[in-house]
């Protein structure tokens, strides 16, 4: 029971925040404080469990291991940055922090799941608050984004669920870590369709290319802090659970799904970054870039070796740090004039001269997305490339290179707009710094550069956490 304390802390802070909101309605922003403290306490508590012996709890449905703890810390980072970016933003509704806490709770549950039941519950707990959060911007775009997200979310959850039902039918258990022992006498005609549907369902959440069309609309229509949570947290949750299901439950059949996922990964990397090229709205651009990055993450899963798993785990943090940095910049720009209009490229005009610090953040974030050396993104892409070559899949490596080059062109366009000399846009002139925004931006920049220059500590962490083969050893 004490192993679930981080989850209990987050859930408790959500409930306490909800109560505080109605019991003492006079104190503004109390729920934000409660949830923030809950997140920090959960992060500290999860960190103290680092050296615990891996074990299965709750009727073998949840695992306590370094993998889950790393995921917990990542999604808590996403949650804290979201709360900070929406600090004092009362027009999002006072329930905002509570919903963020519930969504983060779902992501944390995904991190430790070893049975399909917590996978389903985690994905739903992650998605349901996000539907509401996507609608919390009171504009027509906000409602449309929420509606599209809801319909696609319900559709993909239906696919996922039916896949789970077929897997249950094939193996007579929902605990997917037990599948390798059962697979030999499982009913194959149910097993493969089931696995296929589960992968498709998660691919919707992760935005892999044939299932990606909802992403740009939803990213554009949602409030920026929520987009931040979707881009970072949801991606972490979906990617790690896909890795855990495939690497734990189906490593025996890796030859079959590995190559197929590899093709999807290459397609996703190239198409996502290509579609990012003509975008003028910054959030849409980031949406397509997020699709591209989902492709990079998928390479780590498709290589189905330990290096690939480590590379994927590694890639999550630089990607997330760059994402929260860039979304913080957008958020700060929105705090200027006509805040509800989306930030487009021409809004960045003259930023490099008028607001050099803000421009630095955007440069660091975009270069990390693009994979330029001395940023975390470069190290992440390097490890992915290494994993692809270790797995003897040079095609994946070529895909990474092509995707990176196309992405480079897409990410340089905002920077080019920023350095234009003819005039300063109204938004750049009227933007205001906020203490919470500065904190997020500082963490993002220091983290991105830090991982790029000195990646050894993070490499150590992921090499320990991605070593989740403790189950097979017994």
């Amino acid at each position: 029971m004490q192993y679930l304390l981080p989850e209990i802390l987050v859930a408790g802070s959500a409930l306490l925040g909800l109560l505080a909101m109605v019991v003492v309605p006079k104190v503004r922003g109390l729920a934000s404080w409660v949830v923030l403290v809950g997140f920090l306490a959960a992060g500290v508590d999860a960190a103290t469990m680092w050296n615990v012996t891996p074990s299965l709890i709750v009727y073998n449905s949840m695992a306590i291991d370094k993998y889950g703890i790393t995921v917990t810390e990542l999604v808590l980072l996403a949650g804290i940055s979201t709360i900070l970016l929406a600090w004092n933003a009362e027009h999002f509704g006072e329930e905002f922090p509570v919903l963020v806490a519930l969504s983060v709770l779902g992501m944390m549950g995904l991190g430790g799941a070893t049975s399909l039941m917590p996978v389903f519950l985690g994905i739903e707990l992650l998605s349901l608050p996000l539907y509401i959060l996507a609608a919390s911007r009171h504009t027509p775009e906000g409602g449309e984004a929420a509606l599209k997200y809801l319909l696609l979310g319900a559709f993909s959850s239906g696919i996922l669920l039916f896949g789970m039902a077929l897997l249950y039918g094939a193996t007579s258990t929902l605990i997917f870590v037990a599948y390798p022992g059962i697979a030999s006498h499982a009913q194959v005609w149910l097993l493969w369709p089931g696995l296929g549907l589960v992968v498709v369902g998660i691919a919707f959440k992760l935005a892999i290319v044939p299932f990606h069309m909802w992403v740009p609309d939803v990213y554009e229509g949602s409030p920026t802090p929520v987009t931040n949570l979707m881009a970072f947290g949801t991606k972490v949750g979906a990617a790690i659970i896909l890795l855990r299901i495939l690497a734990f439950g189906f490593y025996g059949q890796a030859g079959a799904w590995g190559l197929l996922l590899g093709y999807l990964a290459v397609l996703t990397m190239i198409v996502g970054n290509l579609l990012a090229l003509p975008q003028t709205n910054l959030k849409r651009l980031l949406g397509y870039s997020g699709i591209g990055h989902a492709g990079f993450l998928l390479v780590g899963i498709a290589t189905h070796n330990i290096q690939g798993a480590q590379a994927m785990m590694f890639y999550l943090l630089p990607y997330g740090l760059a994402a929260i940095g860039v979304f913080a910049v957008i958020r700060l720009l929105e705090q200027g004039q006509d805040g509800d209009r989306g930030v487009i490229l021409s809004d960045l005009q003259g930023m490099a001269y008028q607001r050099p610090w803000l421009a630095t953040v955007l440069i660091v974030g975009m270069l990390s997305f693009a994979g330029i050396p001395l940023t975390g993104g470069f190290v992440g892409k390097f490890f992915l490339m290494q994993a692809a070559l270790f797995a003897n899949r040079p095609g994946f490596a070529v895909g990474i290179v092509v995707g990176t080059l196309v992405g480079l062109a897409a990410y340089l366009r905002p920077l080019q707009a920023m350095f234009q000399r003819d005039g300063v846009s109204e938004r750049v002139r009227t933007m205001r710094w906020s203490a919470a925004g500065v904190m997020v931006v500082a963490v993002a920049v220091v983290g991105t550069i830090g991982i790029g220059v000195y990646p050894a500590p993070l490499v150590h962490i992921v090499s320990q956490s991605a070593n989740f083969y403790w189950l097979k050893g017994g």
Binding site: A135, G143, A146, L150, L151, G158
Partner: protein, 99 residues
């Protein structure tokens, strides 16, 4: 033998639901079709649970129903909000964001 029929029925329901989501234009109907896919999964879970004399599948069906209720609550709230803003509900007309 009954198991095969029930699973076939579940698969049929699932496909009808999926086709409904893909073909229909009204978000309300699309949402109903998506819920139908969920219930197809619940039916399959119960059928397998009965076949294996295992309670996990039944628990899963309970969870599906509970989650579906929460999802319907949220979904209808969002639809009411969107409708109030534009007094129309057609996925093709909701095109301010180009997909």
């Amino acid at each position: 033998m009954t198991l095969n029929y029930v699973v076939a029925l579940a698969a049929l329901l699932f496909m009808i639901g999926a086709a409904g989501v893909l073909i229909r234009k009204n978000p309300l109907i699309m949402f109903m079709a998506a819920e139908m896919m969920w219930n197809a999964a619940a039916l399959a879970f119960i059928a397998f649970a009965r076949n294996y004399h295992d309670v996990t599948g039944q628990v899963m069906a309970f969870l599906i129903i509970a989650t579906a209720a929460a999802e319907v609550g949220i979904g209808l709230a969002i639809m009411v909000a969107v409708y109030h803003r534009r007094h129309r509900l057609d996925i093709d007309e909701i095109s301010e964001l180009k997909g």
